[in-house]
């Protein structure tokens, strides 16, 4: 008996995961990638894609073993009521914290680039309210909205990149592969951390119309993300070169600012901001939903909705108070976020995986003993 009654299709799941990773990845990561790997930043994208694919397959193979249950439920089953709840609490809290980060970075994008005179807290409250409304209506509702918004955002981004093509200079990519492997790996570690955010899908697998299809979600998601990031990083490098990209805080936004279509169409960055309000709002909604649902199940509630509104207070305050300025936001994202996400999300999935294997082995041995007893 699960809390969520809504069901989502495979395509909705693919779009939801892709959007939830891409929305802030495309916003923040390019400048950090070029900082680590210079003009070879684009190489980090497929490397991270391979890691993402492997981790996605691993995580999903854990999920499909318990088709009717989400990660909190089987963590309690496998690790016992206390340790299981502790792991689930860490999981839920990480999504709360990451969500606060997303809200904060999006708020500071709007303040620095679009509306410098409005206080930051206004944007944070507004985006959290949008997300809270979506979460209150349930998984099915915001998944369906996402099914419209995500393809739209991809189409707009592609159109903007296409408009930038005439100004691009692909000599910026040379010299190829001049950075050592550790630099590349550090850059792809950052992207990989975004991929691990897809662990929120482990809370949603039971809500799939056919949970056994969860495995088929991984390939399309990795493909969408890799292609989108390759296009984004590639066009940024070709348009600005890696040194200028590194100096920017939100390079993709600058890209939209720079392109124009003859004398007809220019300064289309407001369109981009509009699209981003949608995609980031949906990302916040997805993480919001997952961590509220996880908290509700940790406390054995019958419904997650009572927690939605109080959670909004916590989310807004954390997003305001946890980071002091843009420099600290960037530092946190480039260094501490990858380590935290990898340790907590990767660690909890691996722990559950290992426990599952041991438990199955143990139960098999018990069965064997019983068989032996019956035979003698």
């Amino acid at each position: 008996m699960s809390i969520e009654q809504g069901k989502i299709s495979k395509r909705q799941a693919i779009f939801l995961i892709s959007n939830s990773i891409l929305a802030s990845m495309i916003l923040i990561s390019p400048a950090l990638l070029t900082k680590e790997a210079g003009q070879d930043a684009w190489v980090a994208v497929p490397i991270a894609g391979v890691f993402g694919l492997l981790s996605g397959l691993l995580g999903n193979s854990l999920g499909v073993r318990f088709p009717g249950k989400n990660i909190v439920e089987y963590s309690i089953d496998l690790l016992g009521p206390w340790l299981g709840r502790a792991v689930a609490f860490l999981f839920a809290f990480l999504f709360l914290h990451t969500n606060a980060y997303v809200v904060r970075s999006f708020g500071s994008l709007l303040v620095t680039e679009a509306m410098p005179e409005t206080p930051l807290i206004v944007f944070n409250i507004l985006i959290v309210l949008i997300a809270a409304y979506g979460v209150y209506l349930g998984l099915e509702v915001f998944s369906r909205v996402n099914e419209i918004v995500f393809p739209l955002s991809i189409i707009v981004s592609m159109a903007i990149v296409a408009m930038g093509l005439p100004d691009m200079n692909f000599d910026f990519f040379k010299p190829f592969f001049s950075h050592p492997l550790p630099d590349m790996l550090r850059a792809s570690l950052l992207l990989f951390a975004f991929y691990t955010e897809a662990a929120f899908f482990l809370m949603i697998i039971p809500s799939l119309r056919r949970p056994q299809e969860a495995r088929q979600v991984v390939w399309p998601v990795v493909l969408i993300l890799t292609v989108a990031m390759l296009v984004d990083v590639g066009s940024l490098l070709a348009l600005f070169g890696h040194q200028e990209t590194t100096r920017m805080v939100f390079p993709t936004y600058e890209l939209a600012k720079a392109v124009r279509l003859g004398d007809l169409l220019e300064r289309i960055e407001s369109l981009v901001v509009g699209i981003w309000v949608g995609t980031v709002g949906l990302k916040v909604a997805a993480f919001y939903y997952v961590s509220v649902l996880a908290f509700a199940q940790i406390f054995n509630l019958k419904d997650y909705r009572p927690l939605v509104l109080p959670y909004a207070f916590i989310l807004v305050v954390l997003s305001m108070a946890n980071w002091t300025d843009t420099a600290q936001i960037t530092l946190y994202m480039s260094r501490y976020f990858p380590l935290t996400a990898l340790t907590v999300l990767g660690g909890s999935v691996m722990l559950l995986y290992l426990f599952n294997i041991f438990k199955r082995k143990a139960s098999r041995e018990v069965e064997k003993d019983e068989d032996d007893l019956q035979q003698t």
Partner: protein, 73 residues
């Protein structure tokens, strides 16, 4: 600021609590109240410029040694 926080909190309680009471969902009511109290406390602390527990600091403290190893200074 303080007043608006209090009003928002009361509004939330007024919106959510009667339904929970009506349906006799005791557990949910307790969890809701606990979350709302934490949220209100944090929001009041933000409004009054009091120190707020900062998980980011904790994370940075825990991972600093590892960060030193991975990233060049």
């Amino acid at each position: 600021m303080v007043l608006s926080v209090l009003l928002l909190g009361m509004g939330t309680a007024y919106y959510e609590a009667p339904r929970l009471l009506q349906k006799q969902m005791k557990r949910e009511l307790i969890a809701f109240s606990a979350f709302l109290l934490i949220g209100m406390a944090l929001a009041l602390a933000l409004a009054l410029d009091w120190p707020i527990p900062n998980p980011t600091r904790t994370i940075e403290f825990i991972f600093r040694p590892l960060e030193r190893v991975i990233y060049p200074q």
